[in-house]
Each structure stands twice: as structure tokens, then as C-alpha cells.
Symmetry: C2
Amino acid sequence: MSGNFARFAEVGRKIVAVGRNYRDHAAELGNAVPETPLLFLKPASSYITEGTPIKIPKGCSSLHHEIELGVVIGQKGTDISEGSAMNHVAGYVLALDMTARDFQSIAKKKGTPWDMAKGFDTSCPVGKFIPKDAVADPHNLELWCKVNGALKQNGNTKDMIFSIPYLISYISQYFTLEPNDIILTGTPAGVSGVKAGDVIQGGLAKLAEIEFKVVDRSGGS
Amino acid sequence: MSGNFARFAEVGRKIVAVGRNYRDHAAELGNAVPETPLLFLKPASSYITEGTPIKIPKGCSSLHHEIELGVVIGQKGTDISEGSAMNHVAGYVLALDMTARDFQSIAKKKGTPWDMAKGFDTSCPVGKFIPKDAVADPHNLELWCKVNGALKQNGNTKDMIFSIPYLISYISQYFTLEPNDIILTGTPAGVSGVKAGDVIQGGLAKLAEIEFKVVDRSGGS
Ligand SMILES: [Mg+2]
Ligand SMILES: [Mg+2]
Ligand SMILES: [Mg+2]
């Protein structure tokens, strides 16, 4: 694998996210644990990096943080085997899967798409690219999220239901994975609402910390 | 607006699709006409161009054609007004919004995302870029689709519920539109199932024709 993946958010084309991949989070929203990975997309236009605020989308009155481990793809693949999946990983990123929970609740009830609830501008705040070599075991990383200094989420990637190789293999049966794509691997329990003025901080073991401010969409950047 | 949009499918990052934008198609699937545009995403990895077959995704037993007018974005914009929306259009494309109807039916029933039903590899076959200047009125174009020579869909873009400027304005309130993004504007009535070996042809007035063969996913390309 070659290339510089630091600019994945600028050049990447696909964000595949996994829902309900931690048992405690599935339970807190009253959802069953899925038998196969629950996949959805976020568009590349939803990326922001530190220094740019998270904007509450128009009409949303329940914006939730979901702290997640992102996997950055380094090598193109379709029908990737679990055994070779890690060869397709360039590295990792600490990310937020910001979610308009009220939009999502309506979509779930009406059977309509989740994309406006999950893909609005600024819905994918990300930290810096973490090279694969810096991570001894991606399935044993503490993952936390604070709002205004108060701890809200405090999980560990060892509690993921579907492992990273399993996700890569499963996803690539439907969606060809390309360099600079990312996979958001799901969030542990503790998601909660944020409002304008709040500050969200997240951490991934000793590998990464991120901080994003929340503003009203009309509040500009 | 500058640039060459012929390569939109190679370099574009976002496909925003509109569901139920023709009254007769909403009715044929038993859906109400929406009050606001029903939006979903397809990933850039779903694009194919002529010469590459449509592959039936793994586990799908009801793959449907939906012939659609695509709008190719030429200029970046957020909160675009209806009045200035057409300034953001570079041109058009004739496209198929291939849909795993069985996956979608389950998603609608369970309230889960549509993305696997709509975004699998080869789910966005497209024709050649049509420059804006070549189209006198995008809201009066015949749009047809044949399977193995039999006419299945025969609509006109004048029957769209939400117009192109309205869609651009609405979408850009949630998803920043970027050059080479496309908007799929919905399909008229007549969607139907296709199977391996079938040939799908589509036409857009005198502007474009496309032809794609359907194969089993395991059948290779
Ligand atoms: Mg999530
Ligand atoms: Mg969706
Ligand atoms: Mg469609």
C-alpha cells in the first residue's frame, strides 16, 4: 500500500457507517442487536476537521453525538476475505457520527431513508489520520466522549459486535471499498443531545483527541 | 462556471437521489406523495458507464430499473436560492437508479436505512454528460425505459412534483452541493424487475440513449 492518507477527508468519496455495533448502545435506543451489520452512508460533504464547528441542521431539535472509531481504507477491494481484510486498512481516525435523532426517529417510523438524519453538512467531524502501525490492537481501544467536560460515553472497541475484518469483508460484498474511504464502526452507549454553545470532546486511547464546538446553523462558522 | 464535467462519474463525490417525485410512480408502489423531497444517497462507487454490466447484488431477488434525469452540479453551493439554482447546473445525464426492491421493502418495514437497497456496486448506470446549453427545457423531456425491447417506463419530466430549482435549493440546505455531484430527480411509473441476461435501454428525448446488460454478480464483468 502506498500513498499519503492524511488528506482522506479532502479526497475520499465514501463514508460507510455501521449502526448498532455495540450491544449497550443498541439497547439504549430500544433496538435489537442486528444479525448482519446495519449499514448507512454519509456523504464526503459532511466532513469537518477541528476548527470548524458542528452546525445544528435546519429543523433539528435533537442533535446527538456518537463517538466512533473510523477505519481508513488504503487499498481498493471487492469481496475482500476476512483473512486479508487488514491488508486494506491504511489507518484509523477518531470521528463523530453526528445524528439528527429527531429526523432519524421519524425516518424509522415512516420507513424512509436515514440520509438527512445522518448526512447533513458537518455531521462527520474527524480528527487526524492515525497510521495503522501506531495501533497495536484496534479491537482494544478506549473510546470516550465528553460534553462541556462531563463524561457521556466511555466504551472500548473490544465491545464491537462485528469486528473490523468482518465489517470490511461484509461491506465489500455490496460496496467496493476505495482508498480514502472510511468505515465508521459504531458507537458505545451514552449518546446524548447537544445544543448551540456546547463543546464536544472525544478521545481514543492515547492515540487521538478531538474537540468541536456546536453552533446554530444560522450562526455561521 | 468552468471545467470539464465529462468525467463527473470518475471524480464526483456525491449522488443525491429523490424518491417519489412522480405522482404515478409514488402511487404504483403504494406510497403517498411526499410534502417535502424524500432524499437518499448513493455512493460514487455505484457508478458504471456503458460497456460495464449491472450486477444483481448478493441476495437480491427483485432488482428494479428506475430511469431518471440526473442533474450535474457545476458550482459549489449551500443554501442556494431557487432563483439562482440553475446557475449551479453544469448539465444533465440520463441515469438508472437501480434498486434492490426486496432489500428496500425490508428496510421500509423495519425502519432501517435504504443504502444497501440503493447504493450497491453498479446501482448507478449513467450515460454521457449533456451540457446545459443542449437542453432547452429540462422540465419537458420525454424519459423512457425498455427491457429486452419492451417499453416499461414512458414519462416526461414535466410531471416531476418538485422542480429542479426547488430540489437544488432544498437539498443545499442540508447537503452542500459540489461540482460533479449529481442529483437524480426521480422516476416515472413503470418500474419492473429485471433478471440476468436482460438488456435495459433508456432514452431522454433526443438527447441521450443508454444500454446496459444485467448479469449475476458472480457472473463477473
Ligand atoms: Mg453511529
Ligand atoms: Mg439511507
Ligand atoms: Mg429513483
